[in-house]
């Protein structure tokens, strides 16, 4: 299988990668930059919407897309091997697990303090 053969080429002891012979390409960064600014503008405009839920969902969607743009193109995660991408998104999974597990204990519990 492809992975195995490539690994068996054995680049074991001379792992020096001069930056210029790097395998990922270079997208048009200016375009991405303007896309980021556009999303940023959207979230700013959205912050004037009165309906809280709509506003929050728009804003967080925008920032999630911003984050994806940065992590995929500026940080070139898109070009990294799959194992690494899985590792990074595993961090997201742990946080989701945490917030789901705790949700029923803090937001849903009424906070009352006993003062004698």
């Amino acid at each position: 299988m492809n992975n195995d053969t490539r690994i068996n080429e054995g680049l074991a002891h001379e792992v020096v990668f001069p930056a210029e012979q790097d395998y990922h390409g270079h997208p048009n960064y200016l375009k991405i930059y303007f896309a980021l600014l556009f999303l940023f503008g959207i979230s700013l405009v959205a912050s004037y919407i009165d309906n809280f839920m709509v506003m929050v969902s728009i804003v967080f969607l925008a920032s999630a897309m911003k984050a994806l743009l940065v992590i995929n193109y500026f940080m070139h995660l898109k070009w990294e091997p799959l194992i690494l991408q899985i590792m990074i998104y595993l961090a997201l999974f742990t946080l989701t697990a945490l917030i789901v597990g705790v949700y029923s204990d803090i937001p849903m519990v009424t906070h009352d303090v006993y003062r004698p």
Partner: protein
């Protein structure tokens, strides 16, 4: 670079970049801390059995000191003995020579991580010299107890009076230890992924390397929330914020979630390297290929991911939502299944094997037996949320987690130690002393904790200085007797460790010379000299096959090393 450079003593033990020396430094430091942990447990067990007055080697014990000793015993044994031995020592010493490379990916980072670890040890011990005494609120340091005398609750404290307290130092020590382990963990993973020898594909890695790396990744992903929580708790203590103060909108249960979200994966972080080493040993000494190598790895990955979502079984009675508790109970009981698969494939390795009873094999079998039959199976009792209502915070829990952690850290750790000692010292260990050490440890370990199971079922709850207040419930003659049995066996257990110390220092000086491959094992580290020279291999090996090719039908010898053509 010249691979066979000799270093002077000073350079070797203080400023060395060589992964073997750093592993040795970790080992010595961990043994030093283990001495503290063992002394603490001796003191408070003696108090529980024979009363607090004039304890030999200590004197009188007050309730405050009792809490401090219990707390620090737990923290030391887990963070300053278990993690360095099972992650740092095994990882540092074994990973580079098992994947057939010269050193870690980042040797300097490796050295720094050791020095941070050493610093954390000193910070922890310095906590005992603080005016308020060491921290004594349980190693889980639940707020508000860990904040109660400081910060906002005590107006006449300043930043610095809050800083120089046992609580702050405990917290800082744990944080430093985490940072050091994170640095080490990144180092291990990068080394394994990036510096493998020619032909060492991922499916040809020895099991223990897999396990150490999975454990490191698990640690990396689970420790973050706790570090965040530690920042919050530190601020609560130092500048009086209200993150966990119920009277200012905080919620103590948040800390419990953040803590156990790390605290449960932590158990597997400790377990995986140890059980990986046990797998190596069992496969070597039963002269058989490891049964279902790929499946074991798959099971471990499944268990690791599951372990991220079972944390709340430590909190069934701590006021969490009962509906959620059902789900956590289900997941907890389910998680026993991948481990069953793992244990069964180890037993499949033993099956019809041509077993050789060397010392490491005894330790490995002892670890497997105690961990499975007592540690693992009592996990089902506690995983069921109904019985946990009664057993939670009793000695049943204590016996349970000691039956998981003691085999993991000490039985497994000693197995690995006796197995790889010839490699890192170049000399064999004395077998008779090894056997004495094993039987002494094994028998007395069991006779400590089996009485504690019964005491727990009798309703004896944790962290109690003395039980005189529960006269008719817990002070009957049989209870007192059970406590005394446990304590006496503990003292014997500690005494038998001196046999090990003597064996260690005697063999490292005068033991008989070890050959390259004394156990006739396959993995790469046995193909170089023992001890390996600086730079490990000359020339670098080229891997031909997976590591467990014992008794291959075509081969004449009953083993064929990985690098053999």
């Amino acid at each position: 670079m010249d691979t066979h450079k000799k270093h002077g003593f000073w350079h070797r033990y203080f400023f060395s970049l060589d992964h073997k020396d750093i592993g040795f430094q970790y080992l010595l430091t961990a043994m030093f801390m283990a001495a503290f942990g063992g002394f603490f447990v001796y003191v408070f067990r003696y108090n529980l059995a024979f009363g607090p007055n004039d304890i030999p080697l200590y004197g009188d014990l007050a309730a405050k000191q009792y809490n401090q000793l219990v707390t620090n015993h737990g923290a030391i044994m887990i963070f300053w003995v278990g993690m360095p031995i099972l992650l740092a020592v095994i990882g540092n010493f074994l990973i580079p020579i098992m994947i057939g490379t010269d050193d870690m990916a980042f040797p300097t980072l490796n050295k720094i991580s050791y020095w941070v670890f050493l610093l954390s040890c000193f910070v922890l011990l310095a906590g005992f010299m603080m005016p308020t005494g060491a921290f004594g609120g349980g190693w889980t340091m639940y707020p508000p107890l860990s904040v109660s005398d400081f910060g906002y609750n005590n107006p006449n404290t300043t930043f610095w009076t809050n800083f120089f307290t046992g609580n702050t130092f405990f917290l800082l020590a744990v944080a430093l230890e985490f940072i050091s382990m994170l640095m080490g963990g990144i180092n291990f993973v990068v080394t394994t992924l990036n510096k493998r020898a020619k032909g060492m594909s991922l499916m040809r890695l020895p099991l223990v390397v897999w396990m150490v790396n999975i454990a490191n990744l698990l640690f990396m992903f689970s420790v973050g929330p706790l570090i965040a929580g530690a920042f919050m708790l530190l601020m609560d203590i130092l500048v009086g914020t209200g993150f966990f103060d119920a009277y200012r909108g905080g919620d103590p249960i948040l800390w419990q979630h953040l803590f156990w979200f790390f605290g449960h994966p932590e158990v597997y972080v400790l377990l995986l390297p140890s059980i990986g080493a046990v797998g190596e040993i069992i496969s070597t000494f039963s002269r058989k290929p490891l049964f279902g190598y790929k499946m074991v790895i798959l099971m471990v990955i499944i268990a690791a991911i599951l372990s991220l979502v079972v944390w709340a079984h430590h909190q069934f009675v701590s006021g969490i939502d009962p509906g959620a508790a059902n789900i956590f109970s289900l997941l907890t009981i389910i998680i026993s299944i991948p481990f069953a698969g793992m244990v069964l494939s180890y037993l499949g390795t033993l099956w019809k094997g041509n077993i050789r009873f060397e010392t490491p094999m005894l330790w490995a079998l002892g670890m497997l037996a105690t961990f499975t039959f007592f540690g693992g199976f009592t996990g089902l009792h506690l995983g069921s949320n109904v019985f946990d209502i009664y057993a939670h915070d009793t000695y049943f829990v204590i016996a349970h987690f000691h039956y998981t952690l003691f085999p993991t850290v000490f039985l497994g750790g000693f197995a690995a130690f006796y197995y790889w000692f010839p490699k890192f010292s170049g000399r064999m260990m004395n077998k008779t002393l090894g056997l004495i050490h094993f039987w002494g440890t094994f028998i007395f370990f069991n006779s400590i904790f089996i009485p504690l199971f019964w005491l727990g079922l009798q309703g004896q709850h944790r962290r109690i200085y003395n039980y005189s207040a529960w006269n008719d419930l817990l002070m009957q003659p049989e209870h007192i007797m059970a406590r005394q049995i446990a304590t006496v066996s503990l003292i014997f257990l500690l005494l038998f460790q001196f046999v090990f110390l003597f064996n260690f220092f005697y063999s490292i000086k005068k033991g008989k010379k070890a050959s390259k491959n004394p156990w006739e094992a396959n993995t790469l580290e046995w193909q170089t000299d023992s001890p390996p020279p600086h730079g490990n291999f000359d020339p670098y090996p080229v891997v031909q096959r997976w590591p467990y090719d014992y008794n291959h039908p075509e081969k004449e010898l009953d083993y064929c090393p990985q690098s053999e053509i």
